[in-house]
Homo-oligomer: 239 residues x 2
DNA sequence: GCGCCGAGTTATCAAATGTTAGCGCACTGT
DNA sequence: ACAGTGCGCTAACATTTGATAACTCGGCGC
């Protein structure tokens, strides 16, 4: 059941049997959320962190004028709020974009991992660091890429991340979001989001229908996005 | 000499004498960089992480068309690349925006801290988590705030962060950046950056001259920015 | 079968933002 | 004193992006 977690953490360095059982022991209490439901509420002080087993979720903040901005997309094998273990208070919410199955990690058990399992601790720390690296890439995309390039970059990132946890199907992956939700990822109006999507479609590098994205020209998509996966740290080495 | 590091880490939870001496032992090898010099090069695999003792630095990426985007600003007491300890390869550069005095932390010594000092490890982890929280706030600002609000938010954030390490002077702080550099923070053209700065100045909440920002109306600046410092985790509690 | 409703799409116009160019001022080196 | 240079600032115009509205289409409940 924790296969996607093992695939995710294990891509960076090998996980010993002991570590896998520590993780198995850590994760307990499966839950389900419907699309649109809050998985973690802004302002709360959760006593556990949440791992996605299945579904798509996102972190978000809402401003006074009602504007919403997603700050990350979370796929199976991702902790959506591992940082809450040390940050304590959630300064933003996490929402299920599609029906989500999740499993919980008690903060007290996480703490005992930091006391007793340094290597596993470093791998969990690394997981949050990659989170940060993705944030930085999003900042660059929002600030200095064209909107088409930004969207292309997002598709590259999602494809690669989903591939790691075996949630791609050939050159396709499931993306259960509306154009309005995607607009809250890129920081655009819905109308302009539609224009950008049309442009990327017309360039012939992707198709997107029935909530499924198909990459028609991976080479060219990467070029448009100037995609360099270094920031995802997808190499196995001692950590 | 490590006072700003102690102020920075110590604001979140108390640092024992043992932990302070561990940190003292960790940090060695002072260096200086001139404004405009790279402190860490993109693509490198540093064997140590860098702490700022004095000066202002920034992480950045450069795109193919020459566009540059800063992804963070780093003040005294900040590790500019603590994550490189686990991420291994730098996917971006770090530049000195003003003359910088820094001190280094060997990655091998950092690793031994994770093996032997769990509480200090958690505080260092926390430091990188706050980094991530700041990134998320920047994403929200870039995506959904007006440009004036974005700039106001940046000033709020810098003021509060500099206050923690005692680098403010009343309601003023030193900000040794040109408008062109600031444009690379907000993701704007230089011309538009100038318009935004003028607008914020004309609203009477800040003054900015001789590389010194003075907050004239802290209340109103926070309102314009919708600033909520929760994300900076500035409360002292067990971590 | 019928109508409602959400999502995608397009058109039109307005506002925000970028580009290019130029001016003035303070600072610097000669 | 002088020219050169970096930086802040402004103008004029082009392009991108947003706001509003309307139309289509398919799913879904009645």
């Amino acid at each position: 059941m924790l296969e996607s977690l093992f695939l995710n953490l294990g891509q960076h360095d090998s996980l010993s049997d002991d570590e896998q059982s520590l993780l198995g022991n850590l994760m307990a209490g499966e839950r389900s959320f419907a699309a649109g439901q809050d998985i973690v509420a802004s302002g709360s002080r959760p006593a556990y962190s949440t791992l996605i087993l299945d579904g798509l979720a996102a972190r978000y903040k809402v401003l006074a004028d009602g504007g919403r901005q997603f700050t990350s997309l979370q796929v199976p094998g991702d902790f959506v709020d591992l940082y809450a273990f040390l940050l304590k208070t959630m300064d933003h919410g996490v929402i299920a974009l599609s029906p989500c199955r999740v499993i919980l990690a008690d903060h007290s058990k996480l703490r005992s991992i930091t006391e007793r399992a340094p290597h596993l601790t470093r791998l969990l720390w690394l997981d949050t660091l990659i989170d940060g690296a993705i944030h930085r890439e999003w900042i660059v995309a929002m600030g200095r890429r064209s909107k088409v390039s930004h969207l292309a970059h997002l598709f590259c990132e999602l494809f690669v991340r989903l591939q790691v946890v075996k949630h791609t199907n050939g050159m396709s992956f499931h993306l259960p979001v509306s154009q309005a939700e995607l607009a809250d990822v890129l920081g655009l109006s819905v109308v302009h989001m539609n224009r950008v999507i049309s442009a990327l479609r017309n360039s012939g590098v992707i198709a997107w229908a029935n909530h499924t994205v198909t990459i028609l020209d991976w080479q060219k998509l990467q070029q448009i996005a100037e995609f360099d996966p270094t920031y995802l740290s997808m190499t196995r080495e001692p950590r």
